[in-house]
Symmetry: C2
Subunit: 440 residues, 2 copies
């Protein structure tokens, strides 16, 4: 994304892609944090520095199933000359008052169980006869089947060093340590740590609720009968799915007919559940472009930057765009064009970063890679426009899929990347290196 | 993942990681397909070849807001010598019976509206005076504000070729074409195409429902008071989150105490909503390892390969593992070890591919990359075991985070990759190239 942000001077001038994105992102603020249950916070950004309240592990415990012993009692032990110890009981995981181990004694101990008082190390069960007097044990017999194994005698075949097979209190993290920093994205292993230190809830920025409204009297719901002159609504489905992919909780509103009053009341209705509104269609220069018509006077003109502004952008597809904020909470709204490819590309360029900004993420954009153009002939791009073509990307090469037409949904569905042709290029020869944005 | 799959011969022999994974995947079958609403099918695998029922676009339509004209009428037109045409009406998107365009006439037409009979091309509004008689128009006035613009006279400033700014019927896809092949994963742009061709529902393999049960009498729910000898349950949270990340609908069951009967009845209860059961803990050689005890006789031994088998694997962490199927529907079950890092690594290695196999995906594994080890000293790995260490990976280098201890949750939370040390290596010097699995 090379060209500098420029603000047009004349009314008919085009806005640059970068300037439009910058204006959107300067308006979108991260959502206010809320306290969420751990699993509801998955994928969200932490807004607090989390400190460890109790050391992990909270107490010295065994890392093996075996016998808790005193070092001196097993010194020099071997299979030929085992150390015979009196088993004084079991120490299971969760034991709150473990048996004491005196000289000549051992306690049978389970992984995770607290090291009992008097014991200095753990001997794995495989280094003993497991109390059965029949050579090295493969494991313990279940307590429920052989309760007598918690007593009797055990023969230990190997010596151990002090603290062997013992996980020390605080050896993972210590009370007062920083567990996680504000700004961390909570994935499974961060959730593991929060749970391990006892946090049932955590303060994060929530996922934004995105309401998607498509407009157009020609639109028919998929699955219904298509009348003459009609097409199926695909934008509301595609953008709802894309909003979810971007991390949002997305609500799809069925297509709204080209009537300004209906659209206005639909949008006002939806404000209650929207952190971001996305509309498609009705933003161009036609006489029935009701999004433009309906939103011109719905905006909150009392706040600086409020209201919806409609612009022409130096890009293809996606020249007509609207953006601003509406309603009592100054909810951001993106009015995207209606052609399916235009709306999809516009969503990628503007709505996805906006959703990520609402989440409090700092890394807003998909990575851009360089790839060699593989094509039969040169690509043509209109002068002064940044063009986004659909392509397939693999192993450092990218191949265009379909043409530049913004109605080519099938080609879009078979692409996995956008090819970016900068404003100053009117032609790209095969073999040229180009910027590519891999999708998904 | 280099070593060949080998089946152990003796009872105490270790199973290879590859053999265990192979056995799991040979038992897990893709879920039966169901018909889902488009947005419910997001991320799922299509099981039908989808054919286009009606061409896209379904009719010739305008790609611009402008005027539908006859070629001969605008031949040689210029701003100085415009062609003046009688405007016979509007053609809006969705119009089912558009006005006819005769010689010397034009219809005002909107993007997406059907090309009216008699018209041969569309002139963009910017190439006309928009009916206002004041030089080139920037756009149309809204129909609601200026209904008279649907009549009167328009001056056209440029000629057009036949079919200019017309999207031909079927120029995207034609009736009978293959829209999407079975096996396609449905993302936003595939959903766009399905909607565009009128599909309200689609046949896919559903997301698997994964039930996660942790076991251990020492486990306390995060947020509650920690008693002596107790620790917080983190596994059920981490693996529920990881199961979701892998594409599953995940249900977390609270920790179950070390009692075989309780565990058995909990698992039997959960079978109704499980396509895969994942337990943690209780699979080693201790006397309180109730998963082993409870599942030994719950299995469906009447089917070949049924029942739960417990094994020792040649890996660290994660040596003790259980796997099989249970209940009337032969629901697959993975019994993972209980140490937090062991359960997490085991989930990555075995549960994640199993979930993806249930979804009908063919690409089951995370990509493995090569990276240079950056470390202060050589890594040690037990002979004959495949070791998975936690690390941070960036720019072709990987740095270990924390040690090999399977209780080190904090280190896990600060890692973003697994470092794989193969079975035949006991030491890895800094600067060596190693296999790395980037996570998330």
């Amino acid at each position: 994304m090379s060209s500098a942000a420029t603000r047009p001077t004349g009314e008919d001038d085009l806005w640059s892609v970068d300037q439009h994105l910058e204006d959107i992102l300067s308006t979108v603020q991260p959502l206010e944090p809320i306290e969420l249950q751990l699993l509801d916070a998955q994928g969200c950004v932490l807004v607090e520095d989390v400190t460890v309240p109790v050391s992990l592990p909270p107490f010295d415990n065994s890392s093996m199933d075996g016998y808790a012993v005193r070092i001196a009692d097993v010194e020099g032990a071997s299979e030929e000359f085992p150390a015979a110890l009196e088993v004084v009981g079991d120490v299971a995981a969760g034991a709150d008052d473990p048996v004491r181990v005196g000289p000549g004694q051992a306690a049978r101990i389970m992984t995770g169980a607290p090291l009992p008082p008097g014991a200095e190390a753990v001997v794995p069960v495989e280094w003993t006869d497991g109390g059965l007097g029949e050579g090295p044990a493969g494991g313990m017999r279940a307590r429920s089947l052989a309760p007598e194994d918690a007593g009797g005698q055990v023969r230990v075949h190997r010596p151990v060093e002090a603290r062997a097979h013992v996980r020390a209190e605080g050896s993972d993290v210590k009370a007062g340590d920083r567990a996680l920093e504000a700004g961390t994205i909570l994935g499974p292993s961060q959730i593991a740590l929060l749970a391990a230190i006892g946090r049932g809830t955590v303060r994060v920025r929530p996922r934004p609720r995105v309401v998607v409204v498509s407009t157009g009297s020609e639109l028919v719901q998929p699955g219904e009968q298509l009348g003459r002159g009609r097409i199926y609504d695909s934008n509301s489905f595609a953008l709802t799915a894309a909003a979810r992919d971007a991390g949002a909780i997305a609500y799809r509103v069925g297509a709204v007919a080209d009537d300004a009053e209906t659209l206005r009341s639909t949008i006002e209705d939806q404000l209650i559940r929207a952190d971001l509104l996305v509309t498609t269609g009705g933003v161009s220069v036609g006489a029935y472009d009701v999004v433009k018509e309906a939103l011109a006077d719905i905006g909150d003109e009392d706040v600086p930057g409020g209201g919806i502004e409609f612009r022409k952008l130096a890009m293809q597809p996606g020249k007509p765009q609207g953006f601003g904020s509406i309603g009592p909470d100054h909810t951001p709204l993106l009015a995207l064009p209606g052609n399916p490819v235009s709306s999809y590309v516009s969503f990628e360029l503007f709505a996805r970063p906006a959703i990520r900004a609402l989440m409090g993420l700092t890394d807003l954009h998909r990575p851009v890679v360089r790839a060699t153009l593989t094509a039969d002939k040169a690509l043509r791009s209109p002068k002064g426009r940044r063009q986004f073509l659909r392509g397939r990307y693999a192993d450092g090469e990218v191949t265009p899929v379909g043409g530049a037409g913004s109605h080519l949904v099938a080609a879009l569905a078979h692409a996995d990347a956008l090819i970016v042709v900068p404003e100053d290029m009117e032609s790209v020869e095969p073999g040229t290196e180009v910027d590519v944005v891999p999708l998904g």
